[in-house]
Symmetry: D2
Subunit: 135 residues, 4 copies
């Protein structure tokens, strides 16, 4: 299991008229979480697309809203990989507020696509290598 | 079962650098679908909040990405209620492209909250009444 | 002078905790306005990029917020071209609410770029042709 | 003159199919810049709304796009106040990329509104006090 935490503040454009972080924006928080986890492993998603020509489209996700987040809250995005990916990769997500309470939990499943021929491929070796020391 | 369809075009600000409708935006499409379904029943979600002081926060949702949608695609948001809500309400969602192919499918579960005391309440009677003719 | 009107409803994800249409979203409304004006002329911005390989990046814009727009308001986006473009193109924008009152006004200046070599080019002839009957 | 800098990374949901930071999102970057400038002065915009019941709606803004920003760029938002506000407040904005080049420049003019009666008021004394040591 490998976990990574990243902090992000709720911005005004992310609030809605309930005064909450709009529920659709958690999906972007999930993305920030997994990109920053990759960065913590020495990997850049930008480079994955540009240099290695591998993209990671989202296949499915599920999310539960436990309590609201509000404007200016400094949230912790905790991203967890429970296993080294074999075909797909699933990130488990928790969004935690400044009081340490769970705001939202979910998971996102992605695949790897070779951008040259648009075919699904197994997880690239550089990702496996970067993860192996962590498990 | 009650289904409703509403069309929405993919806008430039909704695309990402893959050239796809960004996967997080489907959550807003779901919201547009259910609000327009309510309108088709003679109900206004705006009035629900302002006049009846009932809000409908999202409890959970799950979504599957079947094929990409692209800039300027005119998508059909099909929203289905499979039963008259008793405690929570679950909307089943399909996003369909101009070729009639499924782009995305999912479901969203919401509850009803009395905005005066922030307590969960059963589905309001005016909603049950509006739905009863349809089932 | 050529004007075109298009209606767009304010969606929940576009509101902020003031209960207003978030001020940054007007920029997307401007874009919807100009794309739909082009469509009214028989032109597709999508085709401009894909088929003619011409893109129209925004060079500058200015906007004035006159009165707030709110959730579920059905706004009219009025887009006006005051002259046939010679080098750049400037769209004059008005956002009008259901009471016919001006919500926001502004203008956006764009250029034309050949996507093959990333150079600025004059307005494409098919755009001039489409506009000439209107002036 | 008082300037403040804050860094923000371009996220995937902020890109568009040109591969650029979508031009409408700069408006949110401006907001982040001014909120973080206020925080650097010991002021919280959240508290201004909640505790002092003062909100700061945007009256107008203008923006020039100098060169594109791209996915994962770590941009510097430089926010400058040229004078202590008397009636309105104008923030001058520069967005600078990692190479130190100007990406975007602009300015935003806001007013102060008493949320209890929705009337425009002069700049609150605590803001003047916080700024006076800086000029």
């Amino acid at each position: 299991m490998y976990s990574h935490e990243f902090k992000k503040r709720v911005r005004y454009n992310e609030t809605d008229q309930m005064g909450y972080l709009y529920h659709g924006h958690y999906i972007s928080y999930y993305e920030i979480g997994r990109v920053e986890m990759l960065r913590s492993l020495g990997l850049s998603y930008k480079e994955m697309e540009e240099k290695y020509r591998v993209m990671m489209p989202v296949m499915s996700l599920q999310t539960r809203y436990v309590r609201p987040a509000r404007y200016d809250d400094l949230l912790t995005i905790r991203t967890t990989l429970r296993q080294i990916p074999t075909q797909y990769i699933t990130f488990h997500m928790e969004i935690i507020n400044e009081a340490g309470k769970l705001v939202n939990g979910g998971s996102v499943k992605l695949c790897f696509v070779d951008m040259e021929n648009n075919k699904t491929i197994p997880p690239p070796q550089f990702l496996i290598d970067a993860l192996e020391g962590k498990f």
